[in-house]
């Protein structure tokens, strides 16, 4: 069709100025029939699968709304959020420390950081969670002098889970922070050094605030992924959302129904987190006339700290 107009235009005599004003030939958009066929096939399969599940006699659909706002479930959500927020906070601080150690001149310090990252990224988180939960096998009690505490009472399921999540995440965070630090122009640290900043002042006042621009987006991704990763702590019954769901279906056997309830909540949490993240990244991106949000946040924070000190 397009080819038709093209050939006719080709065989026509050279256009005179008058014919330039003639109505333009109708353009017929190209249609990709193959893609349409694939789309229909896909739709049939998806609808069929959903229909199969929806029409199943073995799923009590009415149980889902009944459990969606169950106080136990809501409390589980609270714990999942607590695990996510706390482990992200702890691992960010630990990640900054590990990243600076990694860049230290002392081979023992940088070697430790290297080894840490290698170990915690190279072993399954599930195993690490179980390990911390069973730490009393290695260290039965902690104490100084006559004061002793049973490790068992110190390391509850909650602390074991939080420890495992944080220490594991710290390894990933260290790499993210290191990438951010390396992305800052060397001239910045040099200018600070020449002004008389100590290495610590250079890091905290000059390099880290600038590294934030690079660090914030991947940290957002890690946080979203952490919302779901926390479900692994159910293996030590740490009372997160998945643990609660498992506790309930252990008594009433509504396994699929309750897993769907959990999935709905995980989706809600990750969606909200994604929206927050894209909002934050949009704000980070505007740097034409206005300094990006993190920089302004840092500045306000710094001046607040500065006016106190």
């Amino acid at each position: 069709m397009i080819a038709d107009t093209a050939t006719s235009a080709h065989s026509a005599p050279p256009a005179s100025p008058a014919s330039a004003h003639a109505p333009a030939p109708r353009v017929v958009p190209a249609r990709y029939w193959g893609q349409w066929i694939a789309a229909v096939v896909l739709l049939v399969f998806v609808l069929g699968f959903v229909g199969l599940i929806a029409s199943s006699k073995n799923v009590q659909w009415s149980a889902i709304p009944r459990y969606l706002f169950d106080p136990t479930i809501l409390d589980g959500i609270r714990l999942t959020l607590v695990f996510t927020v706390l482990s992200m906070l702890i691992s960010t601080v630990a990640g900054v420390v590990l990243a600076t150690l990694r860049m230290a001149h002392n081979p023992v310090l940088s070697g430790f950081s290297h080894l840490y990252i290698w170990f915690f990224r190279g072993t399954p988180l599930l195993v690490q969670i179980i390990f911390w939960f069973n730490i009393q096998l290695f260290i039965p009690s902690l104490g100084i002098g006559s004061f002793h505490v049973e490790t068992n009472t110190l390391i509850s399921a909650f602390t074991a889970a939080l420890l495992a999540l944080s220490l594991n995440e710290a390894a990933y965070m260290a790499e993210i922070v290191r990438g951010g630090l390396l992305a800052v122009d060397k001239g910045q640290a040099e200018a600070a050094t020449a002004l008389g900043y100590t290495p610590f002042q250079t890091l905290t006042r000059i390099v880290l605030p600038q590294a934030l621009r690079v660090i914030v987006p991947p940290v957002g991704n890690q946080t979203i992924s952490m919302l779901k990763t926390t479900s692994l702590v159910s293996v030590v019954a740490a009372q997160d959302l998945l643990t609660r769901v498992q506790n309930i279906y252990a008594t009433n056997f509504l396994i699929i129904e309750l897993l769907l309830v959990a999935s709905i909540w995980y989706l809600v949490m990750t969606t909200v987190a994604s929206l927050l993240q894209s909002w934050l990244e949009r704000r980070l991106g505007q740097s034409v006339s206005e300094p990006p949000l993190v920089m302004r946040l840092m500045r306000n924070l710094m001046s607040a700290v500065g006016s106190k000190g």
């Binding site: 001239g187 900043y197 006042r205 000059i206 300094p291 500045r299």
Partner: protein, 274 residues
């Protein structure tokens, strides 16, 4: 303006009215620097007096930047010693031995030496004002009001009084470099080092930066300036130092070195830059 700069010995008072003021500001003795097997500085001896403006010229790769960076110990010397205002830089002499200083101690020495870089290196996350007041507040522990007042005076001096709240990326190169000069001056340095401060600038912006530097020189600041600006060297420098291959080839008043160079290498270089 000398009260802004707070120079300990303004040139107008003459060198003999202050104790120790006949002591040179910078003394370099046999400074050597090697990177791996490459010897970049092969024994530099140099003395810069209080209030003197010394311009260093030389072809690319001759070690000008490296020497400047040795003065505030951004580079560790391989041999030789540098004294600023009589104080050994980077080392402490004890029982006939030189003990390398730790970084926080080095930071104390660097506060006294201002440096201006070719690529400005302003802190992009801070406003112009923030760039100027952060070091005095953080490092010297100055009160905010005092630091801000001084920053405004310095901004006046570099003709940027309206730009205090701008961010570096909103300024032209010439404006950024003038802020960088103000930032260095805010620490009350005894000595200012300039490493090709106008080389990264569009030609029409060079003049405004040189004007500020000239003003500073007239105030009696001791300055070591690596530059390719012959006009500035001729007009402002008390002494021109020509470096090539890691040594000082010749030095003297600008009229001598620039117009009647004694060495063939200097002549070749000057022919090329003109």
């Amino acid at each position: 303006m000398s009260d802004i700069l707070n120079l300990q010995s303004p040139a107008s008072l003459g060198p003999s009215t202050f104790p120790g003021s006949d002591r040179p500001m910078v003394e370099a003795h046999g400074v050597r620097k090697t990177f791996g097997s490459l010897e970049v500085l092969s024994g530099i001896d140099m003395t810069v007096s209080r209030g003197e403006v010394a311009c260093i010229l030389g072809p690319s790769g001759s070690g000008k930047s490296t020497f400047l960076r040795c003065i505030n110990h951004l580079e560790k010397l391989s041999a030789g010693r540098i004294l600023v205002d009589g104080e050994l830089i980077g080392y402490r002499e004890k029982n006939g031995r030189l003990h390398e200083m730790k970084k926080p101690q080095l930071a104390l020495q660097r506060r006294e030496i201002g440096m201006v870089f070719q690529r400005f290196n302003l802190f992009p996350h801070l406003t112009v004002l923030g760039n100027i007041i952060q070091a005095p507040m953080l490092i010297r522990g100055e009160k905010r009001e005092g630091a801000v007042r001084r920053a405004h005076a310095l901004l006046d001096m570099v003709d940027l009084r309206q730009k205090a709240d701008a961010y570096p990326q909103q300024l032209s190169g010439g404006q950024q470099q003038r802020v960088a000069i103000a930032r260095a001056l805010a620490m009350n340095p005894k000595l200012m080092l300039f490493d090709e401060p106008t080389s990264a600038l569009d030609p029409e912006l060079v003049g405004e930066v040189l004007a500020v530097m000239k003003r500073l020189a007239n105030e009696g600041m001791t300055m070591i300036v690596v530059t390719h600006e012959m006009g500035f060297a001729r007009e402002v420098a008390d002494r021109v130092i020509f470096m090539d291959g890691g040594v000082v080839v010749e030095e003297g008043p600008p009229a001598e070195v620039l117009d009647r160079p004694r060495h063939e290498r200097t002549r070749t270089f000057l022919r090329r830059v003109r």
